[in-house]
Every structure is written in structure tokens, then in C-alpha cells.
Amino acid sequence: MNVLASRLKGKFTLDPLTVKQFKRFRSIKRGFYSAVVLGVMIVMSFGAELLVNSRALVVSYQGELFFPTYGDIIPGRTFGLDYDYETDYRDLDGLLQERGGDDWVLMPVVPYDALENDLQPGVYPPYAPSLASGHYLGTDSTGRDVLARLIYGFRIAFAFSFLLLLCNYLIGIAVGCAMGFWGGLFDLIFQRVIEIWNLVPTLYVIMIVASIVVPTFWTLAAVMVLLGWTAMTWNMRTSTYKEKSREYVLAARALGASNPRMIGSHVIPNTISVIVTFIPFSIAGGITLLTALDYLGFGLPPPTPSWGELLSQGTSHLGSPWIVYSVVIAIGLVLVMVNYIGEAIREAFDPKKFTYYE
């Protein structure tokens, strides 16, 4: 065990350069705090069901505890109501409180989910923000909670953007590296292929696809990866060219290292700073692209919660400014934070800080 632990420790000792880079990143305050805040937001958004939900967290009914958040619906009859569809927990809460006794309901902070229409008799949505009703940012034009849609929309946009990044980088880095490493005819042919591929107008292709089939999360991501992987290739190609001609690669070759080993262990680790600095901007790009598509109505199908859809509702209901304010501020904040992080990373990974040219 000890041996293993020490080996692992040896393996996981951070490269002094990386430690330096991380320290430098930490010292850039706004980037670092943005990263912390955004990180917390992302983690929290993945547990959004516990914070923003129309299902109760805990129901204590006749001595029995229920946890409805995850899993199957619990029909109203379970709690002595007269229907078979899912219990309305806000109603149940009021009912049990009125009745007194030992039964109780614990609702999440925001007691609405992103898909439900909370329509009040006699007045028409959009409803203004109100503490009493629990709609802290008001509702949209069909009475859905804006905060709930923002949070679930953020989760989807972020997951989408992250997936896009992963696929795009995987393909982009592989192709770019290969182009730079092998050069020659392979490089020439791929350059032309990519140039031609780049001319395909992404937005139009997505619009055409969206008018034929209803895009789902996966089809939309697939189309975007299909048209978006080229962006990374150019940078990787140049970096690889540069690294390939360095002495350590020559040395590795002289030692008889195979191509995959040279690329995997030498070239890519040394181009990592290029890759890392692009990541935040790619994330921001993914979020804006999805938002733009949803705004135009070519994105995820309704009623998926999405920022773009909120934005388009906001612009057509300018008389209810809370919709447009909420989403514009949210988009603004997230994009600013991502850009701060990007800036800080670029700064931290700037090779000029750590290398000395003689």
C-alpha cells in the first residue's frame, strides 16, 4: 500500500511550472474569483432539483417520510387528495398547514420548476417579481418562473457548451496535430478540406436542419461539432510545427520514440498552454451560439428552458422588463466571468513569464 501511495504521490506531484502557473492564476484576482463563483454555480446547477423545483424536498405524512425530488411521481391519492396525477406540493403544503397536526412539507427555496405554468385566476402573466408568490424574478408570458428557467437554462447551455468543446477539441487537436506533425501532402490536402469546410455557413445549416426535423440536444450538438471542429486545427497545426522542430523532439526521435509517443508525450503537453487558453472562450462561444439559435427559434424545442427563448420573450414583452433584465444580466455576468477567467489563464500560461531567451 505504502509503495503504491508513494508512487501515486510521485506521479501526482505537480510540475513546478504548473504550480507557478496556478499561483499566477490565483494572483489575478478577478479571474480567480470568477472561476470560483462560476464553479460554484455550475456545481449548484447540477443539483438544481434540490433548490428550484415544484416537487417538495421532504414530505412527512402520517408518520411516513417521502422524498419526492428524484424518481417516480407520487400521485395525489398517496396524500389523501382526490386525484391520480402528480401531487401539487405547494397546495399540499398549504393544506397541511391549515389542517395543523404533525404532517408537514419542506419545499425548495424556489418552489417552481422550469416547465410549470403557475396561472392565477383573474390576472394574466407575465407576473411581476414578488417575494410572496415565490417568483423572485417574476414569470414569463405563460406563468413559468423566470429564475427556474434561468437556472435550468444555464445548466443546459453549459452542458451543451462543454460537450461541444470536448468533441470539437478532440477532433480539432487530433487533426491539427497530425497536419503539423506529418506536414507535406497530408497537410496540404487537409488545409484545403478545412478551408472548404469552413465556408459552410453554420447558422444556415442549422436553420435548414431545424426546419426539417425538430432539433434535439444531441442532433444540435452533432451538427455544430460537424461544422465547428475546424477552428482548433489551425492553432494546433502551427504549434505542432513549432514544437516538432525543437531539440527535445529531435532527441526523442533519435532515441527511437514512436510517432504516437512523440505526439502524446512531447508535442501535446507542450502545446497545452495554447489549448487551455482557448477553452474559456470556446465555452463562451458555445453558450452564445445556443442562446442565439434559441432566440431565433432554431434551437432546442419548446418548452426546454433556455436563455435565448427567454430573451425573445423579453423583447416581445418589453412592458414586463423583469424578463429581459433577468436574462440580459445573467448572460452578461456569465460571459464576463468566463472572459475574466480566459484572460487570467492566458496571462498565467504566458510563456514569456517562464522562459528566458538567450
Binding site: 424518481g71 417516480d72 411521481i73 410549470e116 408570458s141 405563460t142 426546419s211 419548446p302 418548452p303 416581445s316
Partner: protein, 657 residues
């Protein structure tokens, strides 16, 4: 204007100078250049008209008549010529001519043609109503009234109509409208050069023959007999300017931006591509003296501006840059059309109930394995909480539609009650179809694992609000609705290809009587490109539909229509959704309407042209130029008037039940 002057100075009817010019002939070009002035002295070649290479286009074949069809060679002696001068007037004698109506369209038209590719855009609503037919329909009595024709008569075969044209009727270039223009219209519509398959088919299948008897007398023959008024509404068609069109293989491109002569009160006078189109009132329009056209079509100019976003257009309206704006949508009437210009009485709001035909619903594809079971169709109908949608999203403005189609006067079957939201009934029907248990997500599930889930195909993003509420309510009945939003053309394509499960849409219902053949006859079921979106095939219904189509007496037709409507209801293939039994508009106060606002069949109030919803009820308003100045001054000084909101319920039908 320039184009028109050129056109008038040619003596040759077929060789338009424009086409000549484009043909590249020096002689032709000189002719145009010299037109109206003296022949240029530089080039003295003797020019004779016969030598001018005029373009005659393709020679259209004579009207082909199928066996069993055909009109008599000579005008029958026993015709009873009728006209209609006794129906009530509906325009206001207080109307004043003058002023400009400023209105808007969302996108610039792709063509100024009436037929052919791209001609069905929204600007068609400005071009087509200015092309009159032989008769129009009275918007109150729904009876024919004279337009291009003064008299008409019905043939003995029960499916032909004879028309006698008004000798005063003129095209906008001054050429008289003659019977030849109607014969030409059929040749034209049947020709392949116009690239309009629908019209090709319609003018072959539905219009069986047309014949000229003299310059002002002609007759048409339709496919099947029907009562007189219906026959007008179904078969009568407008003329085509024979002297204007040159049909060639390239007609679609060559005539794309040509301003076609018309017979209506307005003609296009200025086109700024991408920006605006101006239409001007004809000073000496032939129709001004006709009884039912007096005091109508009052503004001198109509300025149609392109504003690409409805919200932006509305802001223009609030600033007074547009005279009127439709407020039919609840969000406009209740939310957006509020505030200063309304409170201070500068803009008036009108809510007018009328009898507009309506046919919108959820059309269930009965070829779908689930929807083939009528229990599921009935259960589904009882799971749709339309009343909740009306009360919430639609603000109580719309009404629940009770039948497949309504709004045709006597034809309407008011005995049918729509299937209401009732979870117990839904439960019983679904249980009968084997869906008696619910899965973990609350959606019903059959023994074989089939979930009770349906795709709703639709094409209007603004309907999402309504569907989202329905969707949410349907889960209470254990039904899942998946929203399949496509763009409007794409969704209709999918429906016509019968690839939908549930089609959410509405038909532009028009005419005097409801139609059943296209929607429910079995010949249209189970194959693409027909309007039978439910794929309904009922052997009991087919003969009744055919009987309805050929029935010549009104009583019989009405009885059949009501019976058919009941059968549609009993089959459950259509879940009727909403109807909008009114039209609403906001208009600056200088736009004056008659005291009665509009007519029984009005589809809109501030419509500058004759046609609204198929009836000749438009063009009743006028612009009061003096009032406009006064209101503008008052607005600048901040003076307020009494706010105006008028709700007219003269033609509102009491909601049944």
C-alpha cells in the same frame, strides 16, 4: 408612371414596348424613344409596324372541353337575367375622399405577379383585391352584387353561369374589359408557362368550359351543379388582361416586377424595392357610380411600408407613423395597446364581433397505430383543457370551437357540443383502450410497454404558449404531448405528407358553405398531398359527401352539411380548438369608420380594398385630413380627448351551453 405612358402609345396590343426594348431591336428601341415625340432625325430608315419584331409569346390552345361538358354554341333564349340592386347599402354617406393610409407589411414581396412562384405572399392581399370578378358578394346578405358584370343568369344544366359585363368596365390602362379577357383567363391559368400547378389543375378540373358570346357576354361552366349563390362563390373568376401578358417560357421572370393593369380602385404607382410600395386611387374609376361601391375606397393613396418586425411596426404605430394596427391578439389588445396615446384619446380601439368562418383544430392522424383506436381519440379530446387555455393565455377573448368548421350561417350545426375537459371520461376511454396504469412519470402505459405519448406538429412559435398549457394539463390525464415545432411551411409539408401524429393548425375557411370532400372523403385518405389530414375514411360518409357536392337545393345541402358535421364529431378525428369570433383594430382618431364599424362578415375593419374574408365589405373607412391636423396639434400641446374603446356585439352569437 413612365411605364404606363409608354404602354399607351403602342397600337399593337401584344407587343409591349418594354418587351420590344428588351428584345434588343434597334427599331423597337427607336420606336419607344420616339414615342410621343417626333421620330428622331438621325435614323431615317422606313419603319413599318409589320416589320417590328413584336413578341407574341406562345400561342395558347383553344379551350379544351372534356366529354359531357361544354356550353351551348349560341346564347340560349330562355335565360333569365338577374341583377341585385335591392340589398341594403353598408357604406357611410359621410365618407370623404382624400388623405393617405399608411400601413405596413413584414417583408417586401418577392413578385408583383398574381400567380406563379412566390405569388402567395402577404402582398397578394394588396394586389388580388384590386382585380375584380364579375360579381362580388354582399357582406351582409351574402348575396351576389354586380361588379364587372351587371347581370347574370343560370344555365339549365345547373352548373353554368352567364354574365353580361358592364360596358364601362376598364383596365387601369384604359382598355375595356371584354368577354375575351375571361376566355383568356382560363387559357392563361391552364398554361404551363405560369408555373402554377394548383391553378393549372383548378382551371381544368373545376372550371370545365368558358365561352364568349359577344364582347360583353360570356359564360362559364363548373364541374358540378350547386345552388346559385354557391355557384358564384365557387366558380366565378376574374379576367386576365389579354393585351398585357406575353406568355413565354420566361414569363415568370420577365413579369416578376411588371405592374399588371387591374380593374379595382387602386393601382401601384411607386415601387421602392425593399422599402415601400405606394398605391394610388384612380381618379376616374369605372366603378365609382355603382350602387354598392359608392362612398367606398376613400383614401387617395395607400403607403405600404416594409417593417420587418411586428413589435417595431407597433412602435411606429404608437408614434403615429402608421394609421392603424391590428389588435386581434390578446397580448396586443390588453397589454401593448395601453398608455398615453390611448388614454389621451388619440388612438381609438375597436372590437368588432363578426361571423368569420373558422376551422382550426387538432387533426388526429387515424393511420397512426394509437390514434386508429377511437377510444384513444375520445380520451385525448377529454384530456385537452381548452377552457383553461382560453381563461389564462388567451385572456378569455377566444371561444372554444365546437365543430370542425363554423361560420357559414345556416350550415352551422349548433347542436354539437365539443368534448369537454373531463378526467373521469378520459380515464374510462383510455382504460377501454388498454391504458389503465400509469408509469413512473405519471404517463399512462399499456401492457406491452407502449406509452400514451403523442407528437403535436405545428408551425407557429406564438402558439407555443397555448400548447405548453395544454401539455401541462394533459399530463394530469396521463397523456404526454411532445411539441414538434417546425417553420410554418415545413410543418404544413409534414402534415400534407401525413407524417404527423397530431396536426395543430387552422384552415383559411372561406366561401359560402363548408367543404368536406377535401378533408374527409376516403379518396383523399392515406395518400400524401391532400387536405385529408386525419386520413379519415368512412364508407358511410363518402356517399353523403358526394351528395352534398352535387346537391342543387339549399335545404338539402344544409341538411347534409349538418349531418356530415355530426359524423365528423362522432368519429373524433378532429378536436376543434379555438375560434376568434371578432376582429380588433387600433386606429388613430383621424381614421373614421361608419357608425356600424363594419359588416356582418368583416375579417378586418380598416381594410382599404373591397375584399375582406371573401365578401365585398372593405374600404368603408375614410381619412379626415382636417381632423388629422387638429389631433396632431393637440398631441403636440398635450391636450387630451375622451378615450375611445368601442365594442360592437351586434353580430355576436351567444355561446351555446
Amino acid at each position: 408612371m413612365a411605364l404606363r405612358r409608354e404602354r399607351q402609345c403602342t397600337s399593337d396590343r401584344k407587343g409591349r414596348p418594354y418587351a420590344v426594348l428588351r428584345a434588343g431591336s434597334v427599331v423597337g428601341a427607336l420606336l419607344v424613344a420616339g414615342c410621343g415625340t417626333e421620330t428622331p432625325s438621325v435614323f431615317q430608315a422606313p419603319v413599318e409596324t409589320e416589320q417590328v419584331p413584336t413578341r407574341t409569346g406562345v400561342v395558347l390552345p383553344p379551350i379544351e372541353v372534356q366529354e359531357g361538358d361544354g356550353l351551348p354554341e349560341a346564347l340560349p333564349d330562355d335565360l333569365v337575367w338577374i341583377t341585385n340592386e335591392e340589398d341594403p347599402l353598408y357604406a357611410s354617406p359621410q365618407a370623404k375622399r382624400g388623405g393617405t393610409l399608411r400601413t405596413t407589411i413584414l417583408s417586401f414581396p418577392l413578385t408583383l405577379r398574381r400567380v406563379g412562384p412566390d405569388s402567395n405572399g402577404s402582398f397578394a392581399g394588396y394586389i388580388r383585391p384590386n382585380q375584380f370578378g364579375p360579381i362580388a358578394l354582399h357582406p351582409q346578405t351574402r348575396r351576389p352584387i354586380p361588379a364587372l358584370a351587371t347581370h347574370w343568369a343560370f344555365g339549365a344544366d345547373g352548373r353554368s353561369i352567364y354574365y353580361r359585363l358592364n360596358p364601362e368596365a376598364r383596365w387601369s390602362d384604359g382598355v375595356p374589359v371584354t368577354a375575351d379577357d375571361f376566355v383568356y383567363a382560363v387559357q392563361f391559368m391552364r398554361s404551363e408557362e405560369i408555373v402554377a400547378p394548383w391553378y393549372n389543375n383548378y382551371y381544368t378540373e373545376r372550371i370545365r368550359d368558358v365561352k364568349r358570346y359577344d364582347d360583353l357576354t360570356y359564360a362559364i361552366q363548373g364541374a358540378s351543379p350547386m345552388p346559385g349563390g354557391e355557384m358564384h362563390a365557387t366558380y366565378s373568376f376574374g379576367p386576365q388582361p389579354r393585351h398585357f401578358h406575353v406568355l413565354t417560357d420566361n414569363w415568370v421572370a420577365e413579369f416578376n416586377w411588371e405592374i399588371e393593369p387591374n380593374t379595382g380602385p387602386y393601382e401601384i404607382s411607386e415601387v421602392r424595392k425593399g422599402k415601400y410600395i405606394v398605391m394610388e386611387r384612380k381618379d376616374d374609376w369605372w366603378g365609382d357610380d355603382l350602387k354598392y361601391f359608392k362612398h367606398r375606397f376613400n383614401p387617395d393613396r395607400i403607403h405600404v411600408k416594409v417593417i420587418r418586425d411586428a413589435n417595431v411596426a407597433f412602435q411606429h404605430f404608437l408614434k403615429g407613423e402608421l394609421d392603424t394596427f391590428g389588435l386581434t391578439l390578446p397580448s396586443y389588445w390588453h397589454d401593448k395597446a395601453t398608455g398615453e396615446p390611448f388614454d389621451k384619446g388619440y388612438i381609438a380601439k375597436y372590437w368588432f364581433y363578426s361571423e368569420i368562418p373558422a376551422a382550426s383544430g387538432m387533426y388526429l392522424n387515424s393511420e397512426d397505430p394509437l390514434l386508429a383506436d377511437e377510444h384513444i381519440r375520445f380520451g385525448l379530446a377529454h384530456s385537452m383543457n381548452f377552457d383553461h387555455v382560453i381563461e389564462t393565455v388567451l385572456r378569455g377573448d377566444y371561444e372554444r370551437l365546437s365543430t370542425f368548421q363554423i361560420g357559414f350561417g345556416d350550415y352551422d350545426n349548433h347542436d354539437i357540443k365539443p368534448r369537454e375537459w373531463d378526467l373521469d371520461k378520459a380515464d374510462a376511454y383510455f382504460a377501454a383502450a388498454g391504458f389503465d396504469t400509469r408509469g413512473g412519470d405519471g404517463i399512462r402505459i399499456r401492457e406491452d410497454g407502449q406509452r400514451l405519448s403523442f407528437k403535436v406538429t405545428y408551425g407557429w412559435p406564438e402558439h407555443t404558449e397555448r400548447l405548453v398549457v395544454l401539455q401541462e394539463e394533459a399530463t394530469k390525464a396521463g397523456v404526454e404531448l411532445q411539441l414538434d415545432l417546425l417553420d410554418s411551411a415545413g410543418s404544413f409539408k409534414k402534415m400534407r405528407e401525413k407524417k404527423h401524429q397530431i396536426a395543430w393548425m387552422g384552415w383559411a375557411a372561406g366561401g359560402l358553405s363548408p367543404g368536406y370532400w377535401e378533408h374527409f372523403h376516403s379518396v383523399n385518405a392515406g395518400k400524401p398531398q391532400t387536405n385529408n389530414l386525419t386520413n379519415h375514411a368512412n364508407p358511410e360518409m363518402d356517399p353523403l359527401i358526394m351528395a352534398y357536392r352535387v346537391s342543387a337545393t339549399l335545404e338539402e345541402r344544409v341538411a347534409l352539411a349538418r349531418r356530415l358535421e355530426q359524423m365528423v364529431h362522432d368519429s373524433g378525428v378532429v378536436i376543434p380548438t379555438f375560434r376568434v369570433p371578432y376582429t380588433r383594430a387600433g386606429a388613430w382618431r383621424w381614421v373614421k369608420l361608419p357608425d356600424w364599424l363594419g359588416t356582418r362578415t368583416a375579417a378586418s375593419l380598416v381594410s382599404p380594398f373591397a375584399d375582406t374574408g371573401g365578401f365585398s365589405g372593405g374600404g368603408l373607412f375614410w381619412i379626415d385630413v382636417d381632423e388629422k391636423r387638429r389631433i396632431r396639434e393637440a398631441k403636440d400641446e398635450g391636450r387630451a380627448f375622451e378615450p375611445v374603446t368601442i365594442v360592437n356585439t351586434d353580430y355576436r352569437r351567444k355561446q351555446a351551453g
